[in-house]
């Protein structure tokens, strides 16, 4: 079964030049997004998730940020190499984005309907009235009550959940092929979260778009994602089918993450944690970036950096020596030393 690839990111590196040195916020990210699928990018704060998503649209503030290497192939066209004008035609049209903060991501003094309509006018060249009508329709589609009235209001007159619905309507305005949602529910309370997630799944079925869902919430991933890319210290360490990932996590970091989830069936006194802390993006270790926190780490892990390698099928990739032939040799050796 070969699914159509919409977006492929290869070895993406986004670095920031600061007075403290070069921060390698994104340092070798690879993932593949298929048509109609949802890919979750997960990882803890500071692992480079948001910078990855901003890089996809080339929205990194520059200076200090810069995409220094890699390819972002949208339908086989490299976004990294695009000229400004070409890029503008992609932004908000083929590739659009929902941001983390609905409270601050809308312009405070422009009516929300206009903020949606301007995208429509820009990319679809519709006249003012038709674009406005479409904006109102979109607001209805995302479940905003009395859309006609709301469209004329400014963001401060809307609640957080409503604003996020407006953001979604704005992102969907030109029926994008790929929607990037950067923690769209983090700033919302739980009931609104559930509604927004349901809405996104619903709209995905209707429009048939692909979604990149960026989150640190594994519960959300389990609910909405088909594929998952786990990020650690600026790299993807595991890229897999969501069901398999939750059943049999391969990378020690993923295993640690899943173990640290609270379990409602057990009476836990303390939550499990991963010992140690994330290495600084200014100074990554030579070998595996997780080695210092990994219970399985061996000499080789500190000496060499592992690659993101395909396992038995192309959909499963993991960045760890444990799943290579080298590891078997090491284990054999260890058994010889201490049987």
């Amino acid at each position: 079964m070969s699914k159509e690839v919409v977006l492929q990111v290869k070895n993406l590196k986004t670095h920031f030049t600061t007075s403290k040195g070069i921060a390698k916020a994104v340092d070798g990210v690879d993932f593949t997004l298929h048509k109609g699928e949802t890919l979750g990018i997960v990882g803890e704060s500071g692992c480079g998730k948001s910078i990855t998503s901003l890089s996809l649209l080339r929205l990194i503030p520059s200076p200090p940020g810069k995409i220094v290497a890699g390819e972002i192939l949208l339908n086989n066209k490299d976004i990294v190499k695009m000229k400004e004008e070409e890029l503008r035609k992609v932004r908000g049209n083929q590739l659009s984005m929902i941001f983390q903060e609905p409270m601050t991501s809308l312009n405070p003094i422009i009516p929300v309907g206009e903020q949606i309509a301007e995208t429509i006018r820009l990319h679809q060249r519709l006249p003012r009235k038709k674009a406005w009508q479409k904006a109102v329709d979109l607001l209805e589609l995302v479940g905003l009550p009395s859309p006609e009235k709301r469209a004329k209001q400014e963001p401060f007159q809307l609640s957080g959940g409503m604003r996020q619905r407006v953001m979604i309507a704005m992102a969907l305005a030109c029926t994008p092929e790929v929607l990037i949602a950067d923690e769209p529910t983090t700033a919302l309370d739980v009931t609104i979260q559930a509604q927004i997630l349901e809405l996104m799944k619903d709209l995905q079925r209707q429009i048939g778009m692909s979604i990149i869902f960026i989150t640190h919430d594994l519960g959300v991933v389990a609910e909405v994602c088909d594929q998952v890319a786990v990020m650690y210290a600026g790299q993807v360490v595991e890229h897999r089918n969501a069901k398999d990932l939750f059943k049999t996590p391969l990378h020690p970091y993923t295993q640690g993450l899943l173990r640290s989830l609270p379990n409602i069936y057990e009476n836990q006194q303390e939550l499990q944690t991963i010992e140690g802390s994330v290495p600084s993006p200014y100074d990554y270790p030579v070998g595996c970036r997780f080695a210092d926190r990994c219970p399985h780490a061996r000499e080789i892990c500190r000496a060499e950096a592992p690659d993101l390698l395909e396992m038995n099928n192309a959909e499963t990739k993991v960045r760890c020596f444990m799943h290579t032939e080298k590891w078997e040799a090491i284990e054999e050796k260890e058994e010889l030393v201490c049987p």
Binding site: L59, K89, F99, N107, I109, I110
Partner: protein, 306 residues
């Protein structure tokens, strides 16, 4: 909105009282006797006393003040001590000139200031930004009377492009308006720059870029309108110091406006004239501030005026 404007208009009454009181007291304190000045040098003591009697200057201060304020509220600003003409007539003759000068000056302040501020903010820390800001710093530092003389020397005396002084036509407006407007423009430029930089860093500007909008749309439609909010306040305040500036600039360029009228009146201790002039200037300032608040609300509907 209507209620707000009505409230503000009522608040003008205490402002009038305050302004008249302050000016009245200051004029009482400055040395020099109006009666003696009017009577002329070498006049006999009797003549001076006669003047004092005629002008009511020998009544108690409180009585003089109260009768003045009472007349003001009836539209009577008194008569000039010098030529016995009603002060209001003189003011109505002079005010349009000063207002015209102020209008063109504030136009220069806003146009020059906004343009410079935007140019700087779009490429912060570039050579362009730094040079614009250095010029702005110079603009703030130059005293207007000196700048006026400098401009006059260059454009009127050396190059002979523009008239030296007077108020006869459009060409006469350029130099004084520039002299008055430049300082404000520099302040507005610095304010616009910092406000723009602040806005450009906001999340909603990133959203606008993510939509695929052209950069000039992002700057003018999404950033500038938000950045203008604090700038409007500064322009309003600038108008106040601009009115003060007319006093100097009208004297330098020999323009018969309100500012020069006040200066002349102070020199001759023409108390009713000074009071009338300052009162009208204050009223203009109060109205401009009201206008600023209304504008403020028009740009930013989040502000509740009441």
């Amino acid at each position: 909105m209507f209620l707000f404007i009505a409230k503000r208009l009522v608040q003008i009454i205490p402002v009038i009282l305050g302004v008249t009181l302050v000016v009245f007291l200051i004029m009482q304190m400055v040395p020099g006797d109006p009666a003696a000045i009017l009577a002329g040098e070498g006049a006999s003591q009797e003549t001076i006393e006669q003047y004092r009697e005629d002008l009511g200057l020998n009544r108690p201060i409180a009585e003089q003040y109260l009768s003045y304020v009472g007349n003001v509220f009836q539209g009577d600003f008194g008569n000039s001590l010098k030529n016995k003409q009603p002060v209001l007539d003189e003011i109505l003759l002079r005010l349009p000139i000063t207002m015209e000068l102020a209008f063109y000056s504030i136009l220069i302040t806003v146009a020059l200031g906004l343009a410079a501020g935007i140019i700087s903010a779009v490429k912060p820390y570039s050579i362009r930004d730094v040079s614009v800001m250095v010029v702005a710093l110079l603009g703030i530092s130059l005293p207007s009377f000196w700048l006026g003389l400098l401009l006059m020397y260059l454009f009127s005396v050396k190059l002979q492009w523009l008239p030296v002084a007077g108020w006869d036509g459009p060409a006469n407006i350029i130099l004084p308006a520039l002299t008055l407007g430049v300082g404000g423009a520099a302040i507005v430029a610095r304010m616009t720059r910092s406000s723009m930089l602040d806005v450009i860093g906001q999340d909603y500007i990133r959203t606008a870029r993510a939509k695929g909008l052209k950069e000039h749309f992002v700057i003018y439609k999404h950033a500038l309108r938000n950045a203008l909010i604090p700038v409007i306040t500064v322009v309003g305040l600038q108008f106040g110091s601009l009115l003060g500036g007319t006093v100097l600039v009208e004297s330098v360029f020999a323009i018969n406006g309100l500012g020069r009228m006040i200066v002349d009146a102070i020199r001759t201790r023409d108390l009713p004239m000074v009071q009338g002039g300052v009162l009208v200037a204050s009223l203009v300032f109060v109205f401009v501030n009201l206008l600023v608040d209304v504008l403020y609300r028009a740009v930013n509907k989040r502000i509740d005026l009441n």
